[in-house]
C-alpha cells in the first residue's frame, strides 16, 4: 500500500465485486463459520450446499463464509440473497434442510418464512 489513492481503488473494486450483477451471479449464499457455527455443523451445511448446487448444475451462485452473527443458538446460520433483494437470514440449517432451501429460495425465488431469523 503506497498511497490513499491505491486504497480507494481497492475499495471501489471490492464494492463493485459485491454487486451481483457486476459478476453475473443471480444469488449469494453466506454460511456463518465461526467456532459456534462449526460446532453446530456448519461444515456439513457448507458441503451440502456446494454438492446440491453442483448436482443441480447451478454455477451462478456465489457461496462464501462469514463469522459469528451473535445468534449462536440458531447455528448453523445461512444467509441467502437473491438478486437485489434483501439478505435473508435462516437459522438451524442442517444439511437436511439444504435441498429445500435451494429449491424454494434460490430456484423458486420464494424465501422460506418459517426458518427465518428476523434481524
Amino acid at each position: 500500500m503506497k498511497s490513499l489513492e491505491e486504497l480507494r481503488q481497492i475499495k471501489e473494486r471490492a464494492l463493485q465485486r459485491r454487486k451481483l450483477s457486476g459478476e453475473g451471479s443471480r444469488a449469494r449464499v453466506v454460511v456463518a463459520m465461526g467456532t459456534c457455527g462449526i460446532a453446530a455443523g456448519a461444515r456439513g451445511t457448507m458441503s451440502a450446499i456446494l454438492k446440491e448446487l453442483e448436482q443441480r448444475d447451478i454455477a451462478d451462485v456465489v457461496v462464501t463464509q462469514t463469522g459469528c452473527l451473535g445468534l449462536c443458538e440458531y447455528e448453523p446460520i445461512v444467509q441467502v440473497q437473491v438478486g437485489d433483494q434483501d439478505m435473508v437470514t435462516y437459522g438451524n440449517i442442517g444439511p437436511d434442510r439444504v435441498a429445500t432451501l435451494i429449491e424454494e429460495h434460490i430456484v423458486g425465488g420464494a424465501p422460506i418464512e418459517k426458518w427465518q431469523v428476523r434481524r
Binding site: 500500500m1 462469514t66 445468534l71 426458518w115 431469523v117
Partner: protein, 586 residues
C-alpha cells in the same frame, strides 16, 4: 414371522393397556393379526404426552391417544396405509424463529457476520484501513492520542483504564525498541466476545494495532491468543499475511516511512496469562506468573522495553474512533463510560449469545429485552457479570446502569463482558463454590494469600454445601476474602473472593439456611435435600424403582413405593421418570 408394521405403545400402564386393547380388537376385526405386531415400551419421550404410539416402518409418532383414536389409527393407518395426521405429533422447531433485539448498537461488531474474514478487500470495502491511511498521512502521534482522549475509550479487558493515558505513558517512555501487545487470552468461562471479533473481523484489530503502534512509536507487535481458539488463530494468521501482501504491515506503510509488523503467540491454557504481566512473561517464554507493578509495562514491559498492551476489543474500537471522530464515540454511553461493549449472555435466559450494547443500558434491558427474559418464565435471582471474579447482582439492582463504576459499586466488575444469568432454581452458595473452585484451580501459586486462601475458602464452601456448615463459617469467609483481596498481586487474587463476598452480602439468608437449618432453599445441594414419594399420588407403576441406579427404592407393583434416604444418592432420576409426579424433593 415377519410383520409389515410394528406399533410401539407407551404411557401410564392402565391407560396404555386400554389403548392397546382397543387397537388389538380393531386389528382383529380387520384381519391384520399376522401383519402387525404390537409392543410396549417404557418411555418413548421424556415429556409426558399421555399414551403415545410410534408406528414403523415410517415412524409416525402419535400422542395423547384414547381407545377411540386407536380404532381410527388401525383402520386408517394400518389397514388403508394413510397416517392420521390430526393425531400425529410434529417435531418442534418449525415455528418462526424470534426477532433479535433492536437495542443493540454495533461498532466493534459492525462487520462481524457481514464480511468474509478471509478476504482483506471485503474489509477495505467497509472503509477498512481508511482510518490508518488518514492517521499516517494527516495526523501526528499526539493528534491520535488527543482523539482517543476525546472519545473517552477505556480498556475493554476489564479494568477500564483510559486508553489514551496508557498510550501517553508508552509514548513518553524512553527505551528502544517499543513493543505493542494485543491481549486475546480470553479465559473467562462462557465468554467469547474476543473470539468472535478475531474470527469475524480480524483486520479491525490489526488496523487498531498499527494505529496504536504509530501513536506510541512501536515497531513490533505481538498477538497473544489462547490456543483454545484454533479458528481465530488461523483466521488471524491469514489476515496478517494478507495485510503484509497489501503493504499494510511491514516496511514503509502508505509510503510514509512508518514500519510495523505483527506476530501471533499462542497461550497454553493458563487463565492467569490473561493478566498483563503474566502474559508478557509467557510471550518471553517464561513461566506465566504476574509480577509487581510498578514498573508498569509502559515503562518496562516485554524484554524490559516500553510496551503497550490492550485487549482485542479495545483495539477494534480504534479505527472507527479515528474515522468518525472521538466526539461521535463519546456520544454513546454514560459520563464516565463511553461507547459500546460486547457481552456474552449465558445461563438461564431465553436467548443466549453475543451482543453489543451502548454502556449505561440497564441490567434489566440486557436480560429482558435483549436476552428475552428468564428461561421457562421462572423468577430472576441474580446475574454474575465479568467472569469468575465477578460478583452476583440481585434483583433490587436490576435497574442499575451497566458501566465500570456502577458495577463496582455493587461488588461486581465489568470484566471482559461475561454475563451469567441465574434463576430461582440456582443455589447461591453452590454457585459461589463453583466459581471458587475455578479460581482456586487457576491460581498460579505465587502469592500465598491467593494460593492458600482460595483453598481455605473452597474447603469451607464445600463443607457448607455438604451439610457440615458451622457457626462462624460466614465470618471466616469474609475475613479470608478481605486478606486475599489485599494480599494478592494481580486481578485473579484480588477478584477471587468477589463471588463469595457478593453472595454473602446479597444472599446471606441462603448461607444461614445451609449452616443453621441444614436446608438448601433452592433445593440444589445434594447433602441437604431428600427425595420423597407421595403415597396419595403413587400408582405403584415400579418405574422409579426400575430406573434407580442404586436400588434405593422398594415397593411391590401397584403399591406405594418408598425411597431409602440412606442409600439414595439424590440423582433425581426417579422424579424425572415418575409418570404421575408423585416424587418430589426438598
Amino acid at each position: 414371522m415377519a410383520f409389515r408394521a410394528h406399533v410401539i405403545i407407551s404411557g401410564a400402564p392402565e391407560q396404555a393397556q386400554e389403548v392397546k386393547t382397543a387397537l388389538l380388537e380393531q386389528i382383529d376385526t380387520l384381519g391384520l393379526n399376522e401383519e402387525v405386531e404390537i409392543r410396549e415400551a417404557t418411555d418413548l419421550t421424556i415429556a409426558s404426552r399421555g399414551v403415545e404410539a410410534v408406528i414403523y416402518p415410517d415412524a409416525t409418532h402419535y400422542i395423547n391417544l384414547t381407545p377411540e383414536d386407536a380404532a381410527l389409527i388401525a383402520e386408517e393407518h394400518l389397514y388403508k396405509g394413510r397416517p392420521v395426521e390430526k393425531l400425529a405429533y410434529a417435531e418442534p422447531g418449525v415455528e418462526p424463529l424470534p426477532e433479535p433485539s433492536i437495542k443493540e448498537v454495533r461498532v466493534v461488531l459492525k462487520n462481524v457476520g457481514k464480511i468474509n474474514p478471509e478476504d482483506i478487500e471485503d474489509y477495505i470495502a467497509e472503509d477498512g484501513y481508511a482510518a490508518l491511511g488518514k492517521v499516517l498521512t494527516e495526523m501526528a502521534p499526539d493528534d491520535v492520542i488527543a482523539e482517543l482522549k476525546a472519545s473517552g475509550l477505556r480498556g475493554r479487558g476489564g479494568a477500564g483504564f483510559p486508553t489514551w493515558l496508557k498510550w501517553t505513558f508508552a509514548r513518553k517512555a524512553t527505551g528502544s525498541p517499543k513493543y505493542l501487545v494485543c491481549n486475546g487470552d480470553e479465559g473467562d468461562p462462557g465468554a467469547f466476545m474476543n473470539r468472535r471479533v478475531l474470527e469475524g473481523d480480524p483486520h479491525s484489530v490489526i488496523e487498531g494495532m498499527v494505529i496504536a503502534a504509530y501513536a506510541i512509536g512501536a515497531s513490533q507487535g505481538y498477538f497473544y491468543v489462547r490456543a483454545e481458539y484454533p479458528i481465530a488463530i488461523k483466521t488471524l494468521r491469514a489476515a496478517i499475511k494478507q495485510a503484509r501482501t497489501y503493504g499494510l504491515l511491514g516496511e514503509n506503510i502508505f509510503g510514509t516511512g512508518f514500519s510495523f509488523d505483527l506476530e501471533v503467540r499462542m497461550g497454553a491454557g493458563a487463565f492467569v496469562c490473561g493478566e498483563e504481566t503474566a502474559l508478557m512473561q509467557s510471550i518471553e517464554g517464561k513461566r506465566g506468573q504476574p509480577r509487581t507493578r510498578p514498573p508498569f509495562p509502559a515503562v518496562s514491559g516485554l524484554w524490559g522495553k516500553p510496551t503497550n498492551i490492550n485487549n482485542v476489543e479495545t483495539y477494534a474500537n480504534v479505527p472507527q474512533i479515528l474515522l468518525r471522530g472521538g466526539e461521535w464515540f463519546a456520544s454513546m454511553g454514560t459520563e464516565k463510560s463511553k461507547g459500546t461493549k460486547t457481552f456474552a449472555i449465558a445461563g438461564k435466559v431465553k436467548r443466549t449469545g453475543l451482543i453489543e450494547v451502548p454502556l449505561g443500558i440497564t441490567l434489566r434491558e440486557i436480560i429482558y429485552d435483549v436476552g428475552g427474559g428468564i428461561l421457562d418464565d421462572k423468577a430472576y435471582k441474580a446475574v454474575q457479570t465479568g467472569g469468575p471474579m465477578g460478583g452476583c447482582i440481585p434483583e433490587r439492582f436490576l435497574d442499575l446502569p451497566v458501566d465500570y463504576e456502577s458495577l463496582a459499586s455493587v461488588g461486581s466488575i465489568m470484566g471482559s463482558g461475561g454475563f451469567v444469568v441465574m434463576d430461582e432454581d440456582t443455589c447461591m452458595v453452590d454457585i459461589a463454590r463453583f466459581f471458587m473452585e475455578f479460581v482456586q484451580e487457576e491460581s498460579c501459586g505465587k502469592c500465598v494469600p491467593c494460593r492458600v486462601g482460595t483453598r481455605k475458602m473452597l474447603d469451607i464452601l464445600n463443607r457448607i454445601c455438604g451439610g457440615e456448615g458451622r457457626p462462624g463459617d460466614i465470618e471466616s469467609l469474609e475475613a479470608l476474602g478481605k486478606y486475599i483481596k489485599s494480599g494478592s498481586l494481580c486481578g485473579l487474587g484480588q477478584g477471587a473472593p468477589n463471588p463469595v463476598l457478593s453472595t454473602i452480602e446479597h444472599f446471606r439468608d441462603e448461607y444461614e439456611a445451609h449452616i443453621y437449618d441444614k436446608k438448601c432453599p433452592a433445593r440444589v445441594c445434594r447433602a441437604l435435600i431428600e427425595y420423597k414419594v407421595d403415597p396419595e399420588t403413587c400408582i405403584g407403576c415400579t418405574r422409579c424403582a426400575r430406573n434407580c441406579p442404586v436400588n434405593a427404592i422398594s415397593g411391590a407393583p401397584r403399591e406405594t413405593h418408598v425411597i431409602d434416604p440412606e442409600i439414595c444418592i439424590r440423582c433425581g432420576i426417579c422424579e424425572q421418570v415418575c409418570p404421575v409426579n408423585a416424587i418430589s424433593h426438598e
